[in-house]
């Protein structure tokens, strides 16, 4: 009952997102896709947009157009989606291509029920239900929408510090003291399509446009996808995105990548990974450090 007014607000945001009524700003992606949005929604969330449309300063503000010629259309779409709905969901390309993945999805569901404890281990962070609700290809988008927004909100409202202790977020920090270089089980929340590069780009967008929540969400989605899709061809691209579009001081994505390479040693045999490691000095150094640390632990 207490959630009712909140639900009301989120429903309103959802309908604003769908209808785009009263919009007073248009965002253009690289391919010219138009995204009519509301300054009142967008600007308070992002200092970048707030600066861009400040009255009397720039062309963007005067014309009411913000062009993002460097951003991929999907990134822009998901960015806007996030600003309204506190979550984003990539279009499942893989699902339409492949019939076997439909079968997979039912086994996904089985796994979800049998391994609920593991779901707890990874999922809770940014909404187990956020991902799962969104993820089921059969699930009609709009029907479950409310569940999704509510749970997403619940998670966001919690102080982030709590997650580490309570839910055992899949982070190197919690695992390393055991000295086990054991990869986590594939998360039941992971979707069929890898989307690794996309989540990395979403993280970068969060960084670029100054949206902290988006960064966290993208990071978690990225890690969840990695548990299942570490072997994907997309990994190399994702590595490049992470190392080239985030500052070196921003460690979390970099550590997620290094963890995966650490856990799955055979990835190093893949040619595209080899190229990536050779090209990116920072990554090679990070891996070197880890191997040394593991050695000391073993010896000790």
């Amino acid at each position: 009952m207490g959630d009712k007014p909140r639900t009301e607000l989120f429903n309103a945001l959802q309908s604003l997102y769908q209808s785009r009524d009263y919009s007073d700003l248009v965002i253009f992606a690289r391919d010219g896709t138009r995204h009519p949005v509301h300054r009142a929604i967008v600007c308070p969330r992002s200092p970048w947009f707030s600066s861009a449309v400040q009255v009397g300063h720039w062309r963007e503000g005067n014309e009411g157009h913000v062009a993002l010629p460097d951003e991929e259309p999907e990134v822009v779409r998901l960015l806007v989606e996030y600003l309204y709905l506190l979550d984003y969901e990539p279009v499942e390309v893989a699902a339409t291509e492949d019939n076997t993945s439909r079968g997979d999805s039912s086994s996904d569901a089985d796994r979800r029920s049998t391994q609920s404890s593991q779901a707890g281990q990874y999922g809770q962070v940014y909404g187990t239900s956020a991902v799962s609700a969104f993820g089921g290809p059969q699930s009609p988008f709009s029907q479950i929408f409310r569940t999704r927004t509510e749970s997403a909100l619940t998670v966001h409202a919690l102080p982030s510090g709590d997650f580490h202790g309570t839910f055992g977020r899949p982070s190197t920090r919690t695992r390393r003291p055991n000295g086990n270089n054991v990869a986590p089980e594939p998360s039941p929340l992971a979707t069929n399509a890898p989307c690794l590069a996309l989540h990395a780009r979403m993280y970068t967008a969060g960084q670029k446009y100054g949206i902290e929540g988006l960064k966290k969400l993208a990071l978690d989605k990225f890690k969840i996808q990695l548990t299942r899709h570490w072997d994907s061809e997309e990994l190399a691209e994702a590595i490049h995105v992470v190392y080239n579009t985030t500052p070196a001081s921003d460690k979390e994505m970099r550590e997620a990548v290094a963890d995966v390479l650490d856990w799955h040693g055979r990835l190093l045999d893949k040619p595209e990974i080899e190229i990536a490691i050779m090209e990116i000095n920072g990554l090679a150094y990070e891996l070197l450090k880890r191997s040394r640390r593991a050695e000391t632990e073993y010896m000790g």
Binding site: S51, H57, E60, L68, A236, T245
Partner: protein, 817 residues
């Protein structure tokens, strides 16, 4: 795939080209031409440079760009406004070269130019900060550099404010400071200035710091402006204060100082910074008040003048002024105390002079020319009483006056009150006859003063009396006098209202405590009991039945001997005391006396009545054959008991027979002095000359003869025979000494009692502590003399109440049970 990643790798980002784009845009921004620029494009370019790890180069380029812009474009624009009228301001040689109007206009142009440059700089840097947001977030944070905005503010400080106007000349900020100070001086001189413009420049100085560390107390305003402002203000007010002291009166000075302080606070609010308010107030207070207060008070038109002329408003201003700088108002308090002291001393001296003045000439001639033989005659005593009343009234007037000043002008301030009260106490106690005079004042009011007054007025009078009593240190002396005066009022029925008397007692009880009024209350009790006794006795006589029409009626006051100061009546005739009890009464009187004694001893067996014959009075009917125009007449005579006894002697004698003084004394046994005084009333005083004296003279001498005055004549039926020295008068010197001696004796008892009380409780005590405790215990009654306490301790040791503790480190005593 390799190609696909190239874009991300940033290999296509060429720093120089990208920087050119940014630089061009920044110029547009600084020339207010940004509305066509794309924020996204600029941000993207800066973003890519930072991603390429060229943040440092970008940061330095931006800083350099800003430095160039400021030193080139902006500085020139500002310096151009330093026109001729302003040029000599900083070298100290002269303001006189330009009129203040010229300087004001020129100064405002300069201030406006600087203000606009500063505001432009902030707006532009705001926009640059937006574009360079990513650089600030990544490069500046990771490398602990100040944000580009802070950096650019520092550049403004260095390139504009802290760079010389031209080579070898002062920095621009010094010019700015002197222009602002010049304008403030104009404002102080009454000209209008553009406060808003100055305030904008102050904002600037408050937003800039001495170094890029931005330490709070290193604001330019605090370091480079405020000290000069305070310094020049101090100089200005020092001179202004001295000028005012010379040229105006104290009242004006106060108003001016107050106005200036308020003006400076207002100026901080409207023109400078509120953070300066307290400091500039302090400066003005120092220069106009703290350092000048003494001079102000001592001006011809200063506090003395204000008090003399009841300038309450001005006194209030002085108070308000000093209250700002000194919670204790030391100077003003000191001055007021001095004034009270002088006025009080004047009152005291006047009282002494009046009481000591020789009798005035007309009174000397008045009565038969033989006044010289009677020093301290009635006239002079009256004069002393007048002096006493006058003294109390003057003291009260003084008190009222300063109370009024205190309430009206000094905001009922507690500290000042305490000081003024102390001074009042000092002058009252400095007057040795204070206790006696105050008691006499009450006496006078009880007898006459309150006759026609309303209840409220009576109340006010009582309150006034109590007010003066409150100040008295030696309340025991006051008690002695009060008892004496009250005694006479009660016995001689001089009091206007017993109710008012009782009110007075209850006020004293409130003010001085129970023990003080105990004996006074006992006197009233005796009076009440005596009335009951008298009426009881009358009933008793009536029941006896023998209604002898010639029987003498009697009313008696039975006084408890310890309670009543009967010596008040005895006057100087102490040595004749024992003679009194042997007074020979006429038979008719003796019978009544015996009757009453019998009646009384039945009621209270074992009590001894001592008849105070010197205090009684009697109503006598007397026949004179030729009183009413040669026809007989009966008069009602009221006279003292002694006079009655004397008159009764002549009842049994033929009218022509005379008695000598010695014979009368032998027949009555009246003490000689009393006898002489009564005979004087009966045979000398013209209106009550019932006896004829031979020879006719004013003095009663041995061998004088007295006989019934057949020729007495008077139109008045009721005649009162004056009783000499019946009223309450100021004491003569001898009486005074006696009172003092008695008082010292009773103080001695009080001290001994106190010492014993203390020692009994504490068992042993060092000497010094015993002294302090004794003094504090007795302080409600009087201020004990330390030597007297020492003597009393000695005496207690002799009588083995106390014992010295020999081995004690400090002199100490032990109580011996």
């Amino acid at each position: 795939m390799g190609n696909r990643f190239k874009g991300l790798n940033g290999a296509d980002v060429d720093f120089e080209t990208t920087w050119k784009v940014l630089e061009t845009a920044f110029k547009e921004i600084h020339t207010k031409n940004a509305s066509a620029l794309s924020f996204e494009e600029l941000y993207r370019n800066a973003y890519k440079i930072v991603l390429k790890k060229k943040g440092e180069e970008l940061y330095n380029n931006v800083a350099q760009f800003e430095a160039n812009w400021l030193s080139g474009e902006v500085r020139n624009r500002v310096v151009k406004q330093l026109t001729a009228p302003l040029l000599l301001l900083t070298d100290g040689t002269g303001r006189s070269l330009a009129t203040s109007a010229e300087r004001r206009v020129a100064g405002e142009s300069f201030l406006r130019a600087l203000k606009e440059s500063w505001e432009d700089h902030q707006v532009c840097m705001g926009m640059l900060t937006d574009v360079l947001m990513y650089m600030d977030r990544v490069y500046c944070t990771d490398h602990r550099q100040p944000s580009i905005f802070a950096k650019a503010m520092g550049l403004f400080r260095d390139q504009i404010l802290r760079s010389p106007v031209r080579p070898e000349s002062p920095d621009l900020i010094e010019v700015l400071t002197s222009i602002v100070l010049d304008q403030i001086q104009m404002h102080r001189d009454g000209e209008r200035i553009n406060s808003h413009l100055i305030k904008s420049n102050v904002y600037m100085l408050e937003g800039l710091y001495e170094s890029d560390q931005e330490v709070e107390d290193a604001k330019l305003y605090l370091r480079l402006f405020e000290p000069y402002f305070l310094q020049t203000s101090a100089m200005f007010y020092r001179e202004e204060g001295e000028r005012l002291l010379k040229e105006s009166d104290a009242g004006t000075y106060c108003k001016e100082a107050k106005r200036r302080i308020e003006e400076e606070s207002d100026r901080c609010r409207s023109t400078l910074s509120e953070s300066t308010t307290v400091k500039i107030q302090r400066v003005v207070e120092d220069e106009l008040i703290r350092h000048k207060m003494k001079g102000l008070i001592e001006m011809d038109s200063g506090v003395q003048y204000m008090v003399d002329n009841d300038k309450l408003y001005e006194l209030g201003l002085v108070f308000e002024l000093e209250a700002r700088v000194d919670a204790r108002k030391t100077e003003l308090t000191k001055a007021m105390q001095k004034i009270i002291n002088e006025m009080g001393t004047e009152i005291n001296n006047a009282a002494i002079n009046t009481s000591q003045a020789p009798p005035t000439a007309p009174s000397a001639q008045d009565e038969h020319g033989d006044d010289r033989q009677k020093p301290g005659g009635t006239r002079q005593i009256n004069q002393q009483t007048v002096a006493a009343l006058k003294w109390v009234e003057n003291v009260l007037a003084l008190k009222t006056r300063f109370d009024n000043i205190w309430k009206t002008a000094f905001a009922s301030d507690q500290t000042v009150h305490t000081a003024l009260e102390r001074s009042m106490g000092e002058i009252i106690n400095a007057f040795s006859r204070g206790s006696e005079y105050i008691s006499l004042f009450i006496d006078e009011n009880m007898k006459k003063g309150i006759r026609d007054k309303t209840e409220a007025e009576i109340d006010a009078t009582l309150e006034q009396a109590i007010t003066t009593v409150r100040y008295l240190q030696d309340k025991d002396i006051f008690e002695t006098y009060y008892k004496k005066h009250l005694c006479k009022r009660l016995l001689l029925k001089k009091s206007q209202s017993i109710d008012v008397e009782k009110q007075m007692i209850s006020r004293m009880k409130l003010e001085l405590g129970n023990s003080f009024t105990l004996k006074l209350e006992a006197m009233f009790k005796d009076m009440t009991l005596s009335e009951e006794l008298t009426s009881g006795y009358r009933k008793h006589v009536a029941q006896l039945g023998d209604a002898d029409p010639k029987r003498v009626d009697l009313s008696v006051s039975v006084l408890t001997s310890m309670t009543w100061p009967l010596e008040a009546f005895r006057g100087a005739s102490e040595d004749e005391r024992e003679g009194r009890s042997n007074i020979i009464f006429a038979a008719s009187i003796e019978r009544i006396k015996a009757g009453f004694e019998q009646f009384y001893s039945k009621k209270h067996s074992g009590r001894k009545l001592t008849w105070q014959t010197n205090m009684g009075d009697a109503d006598v009917k007397a026949h004179f054959p030729r009183s009413k125009n040669g026809r007989p007449m009966t008069h009602d005579i009221n006279c003292s008991t002694y006079a009655m006894l004397i008159l009764l002697l002549f009842n049994s004698l033929p009218s022509t027979t005379s008695l000598t003084l010695e014979e009368i004394q032998a027949k009555t046994n009246i003490p000689e002095n009393d006898l002489k005084r009564n005979l004087q009333s009966l045979a000398v005083a013209p209106k009550t000359r019932f006896l004829v004296k031979e020879p006719m003279s004013r003095e009663i001498n041995a061998g004088d003869r007295f006989s019934y005055n057949e020729n007495f004549s008077s139109k008045i039926i009721k005649i009162k025979v004056g009783v000499v020295s019946a009223g309450n008068k100021v004491e003569g010197d001898r009486e005074r000494k006696e009172t003092e001696k008695k008082n010292n004796d009773s103080r001695g008892f009080a001290i001994e009692a106190a010492v014993v009380r203390i020692m009994k409780q504490r068992k042993s005590l060092p000497h010094a502590q015993l002294l302090t405790e004794t003094i504090s215990q007795l302080s409600t009654q009087f201020k004990p003399d330390v030597n007297m306490i020492k003597k009393k301790i000695e005496s207690l040791i002799e009588r083995e109440y106390l014992e010295r503790i020999e081995e004690a480190a400090v002199p100490s005593y032990k109580y011996l049970a």
